[in-house]
């Protein structure tokens, strides 16, 4: 299998006043197509920074980042924009939906910037993506008319709608209750089963059991990188949860 993502000695420094914060101090790893990776670590260890670099939302201070074999650092801003549009689905920790905009319009957004998708196809794909995340009955609800879990799922649908090569999620279950978290995990496992590459940042070590590979970050460095040979089934875990009152 080809490496979708290949990082070599990625560093990211932030200059705050006269101080330099080393958020990433040289991170290297390869992620193969079809892997489901969880990135864990204490608060401030650099998980979000790493994910932003992977999502081409932020540029590393140094190091090489190959996405599908292409060096991201050597690309122009516009090329990176197109890359985000076609190859990457990003789920933000705080959803980042467009305000006062319906679920389906939010999900259509990435396709609006892809002129090869017709209006009709755009709508169909957005509706499909929303059905995938179980929001087929909330198409016309606006962002402020939905619960946190629903907004999270809209954000996931938006990340899925462009059929991305990699799906990046930053604490996608961080704000959700156990049941909803499991529902989302089930969704991610299903997407993974369909062959998608997923990178999932989380605080919660339990979630690691449902992914194929676990990376631990500490102070901007990888301290552990293990393959999980014993992936548990989130659907079963969900079924075994005590029933809702």
């Amino acid at each position: 299998m080809a490496a979708v993502i290949s990082l070599q000695d990625i560093k990211r420094d932030f200059i705050v006043g006269s101080e330099t914060v080393h958020a990433l101090r040289g991170v290297s790893f390869d992620i193969q197509e079809g892997e489901f990776v969880t990135i864990m670590g204490t608060s401030g260890s650099g998980k979000s920074t790493l994910l932003n670099v992977l999502g081409c939302l932020d540029s590393p201070s140094s190091g090489t980042y190959l996405l599908d074999g292409n060096s991201v650092r050597e690309m122009s801003k516009d090329q990176r924009a197109v890359l985000r549009n076609r190859k990457i689905g990003f789920v933000f920790q705080n959803y980042n939906l467009l305000a006062k905009t319906t679920a389906v319009e939010n999900v259509e957004l990435p396709l609006m910037y892809n002129s090869s998708v017709s209006a009709k196809e755009r709508r169909e794909r957005a509706v499909n993506a929303l059905q995938t995340v179980g929001l087929g009955n909330r198409l016309e609800h606006k962002s402020n008319q939905m619960s946190g879990g629903q907004m999270q799922r809209v954000a996931i649908a938006r990340a899925l709608v462009n059929n991305p090569a990699v799906l990046l999620a930053d604490e996608a279950t961080g704000n959700l209750d156990t049941r909803t978290s499991f529902e989302i995990l089930v969704l991610f496992q299903r997407l993974h089963a369909e062959g998608r590459t997923i990178i999932f940042v989380t605080h919660n070590p339990e979630i690691a059991r449902y992914s194929t590979r676990n990376i631990f970050l500490r102070d901007g460095r990888i301290t552990e990188d293990t393959i999980n040979h014993n992936v548990e089934d989130a659907a079963a875990a969900l079924a075994s949860l005590p029933p809702e009152e």
């Binding site: 540029s59 516009d78 924009a81 197109v82 990003f90 980042n96 467009l98 905009t101 910037y113 892809n114």
Partner: protein, 406 residues
């Protein structure tokens, strides 16, 4: 990027945020409307002053008998009889800088037509009087040279006199009115001029041949006044010099003798008024400038604040694949829609406000096309620029920095 999509994006952004759109538009609307209204009021006053000047006939020259009164010294009554018909004829035959000339004698009194009567002034004048005073005949005719030669009992009357003497609305031409128990046949009616800047009713006049008034009414041989107009406004001073020479010679005055007549031009008055009008022009420029700056700053603030607020939205759009130029096009389309719609509404509102000022406060107003273009142009360009500029700044950020922008 496909422009249909960008338009869709821009329209959605506008319609999903109607209140923000309205507020942004409001800045432009108020800017445009206030500039138009201010300028219309300024222009209106300026034009009404200019009109008064031109209506006065700024190249008019008045020759009166008697020297300049000095310090309230009473004049010898005979001094008031120094202006003779010969003087008039001398000026007519010798002056070269004069376009029109007319003697003037007058007497106030009642004009009577059957049961109706009205006080007015019987003015004895020559044919040149119409040109000098910029009067026009509306119906009938001016009396003729022959009427002057024969001291005919004919007259031409103004609108106010017509209204007072013929309240039933019948045609006065050909009718006979009495003045000083002398019957005068009305040969024509003058076109209405309304009130002048001094508040005088310019339509309350009756003109008759000066010969008739001198012989049949006043029984005098001297003239009360000679009025004439210089060929051009610029020649007024030269014309006065010329007339002075002719009259001094005619009156056999020696060097060193004071003039026994007075010549005045309306230029003194009109130059004062035109300087007022020039001041108005400067004032107007200031009003326009200040309104534009104030309007512009308002628009700039609203646009700037709204785009700054939208930096997170810009970051989000970039994170799902919008390129810098997609963001810029979207914001450009949005601000152009807002600015142009706001501009058009502003123009309409400005025109309405101007009309209201005119109707309610009855101030003179005048909307000049360039003021509409100027305010519309400046406000929309300011709007578009300050919508575009912060968007350009935001779209040059890293997507993640834009998303986290506070």
């Amino acid at each position: 990027m496909n422009y249909a999509n960008l338009f869709k994006i821009a329209f959605k952004a506008l319609s999903n945020n109607k209140f923000r759109t309205f507020l942004t538009m409001l800045g432009i609307i108020i800017g445009v409307a206030s500039v138009i209204t201010m300028l219309a009021i300024g222009q209106g006053s300026k034009r009404s002053i200019e009109q008064q000047i031109s209506e006065m006939g700024s190249n008019m020259i008045m020759i009166n008998p008697g020297g300049d009164r000095q310090g309230g010294v009473r004049m010898d009554p005979s001094a008031m009889q120094t202006l003779k018909l010969e003087d008039y004829e001398a000026i007519v035959s010798r002056a070269t800088k004069i376009a029109a000339i007319s003697p003037s004698v007058s007497k106030s009194g009642q004009f009577i037509n059957g049961n109706n009567n009205t006080p007015s002034q019987m003015q004895g004048v020559g044919l040149g009087y119409l040109t000098i005073r910029q009067l026009q005949v509306e119906s009938g005719d001016m009396f003729s040279e022959q009427d002057i030669a024969s001291s005919a009992k004919v007259c031409i009357i103004g609108k106010t006199v017509v209204d007072n003497l013929f309240p039933d609305g019948s045609d006065p031409v050909g009718k006979v009115v009495r003045f000083n128990s002398i019957p005068f046949r009305i040969v024509g009616v003058l076109k209405s001029k309304g009130y002048n800047s001094m508040g005088q009713d310019q339509d309350n006049v009756v003109l008759a041949p000066y010969t008739t008034v001198m012989k049949r009414i006043l029984a005098v041989t001297y003239l009360q006044q000679i009025v004439c107009s210089a060929v051009t406004e610029d020649e007024t001073q030269n014309a006065i010099k010329e007339i002075t020479e002719i009259l001094r010679e005619n009156h056999k005055l020696r060097d060193g003798d004071d003039d026994n007549f007075t010549i005045r031009s309306q230029q003194e008055l009109s130059s004062m008024m035109s300087s007022t009008s020039e001041m108005m022009t400067v004032l107007l420029a200031c009003i326009a400038g200040i309104s534009l700056v104030v309007g512009g700053i308002g628009i700039m603030n609203i646009m700037y604040v709204s785009v700054t607020e939208r930096t997170r939205e810009i970051g989000l759009r970039m994170s799902v694949g919008a390129r810098g130029r997609d963001i810029l096009s979207q914001f450009l389309i949005e601000t152009i829609i807002i600015s142009i719609t706001g501009g058009i509404i502003g123009v309409l509102l400005g025109v309405i406000a101007t009309l209201l000022v005119n109707i309610i406060a009855s101030w003179p107003v005048y909307i000049q096309p360039w003021s509409v273009l100027l305010s519309f142009g400046v406000c929309t360009i300011t709007g578009v620029f300050f919508g575009w500029y912060p968007a350009r700044k935001a779209s040059s950020l890293n997507p993640i920095d834009a998303i986290r922008y506070e």
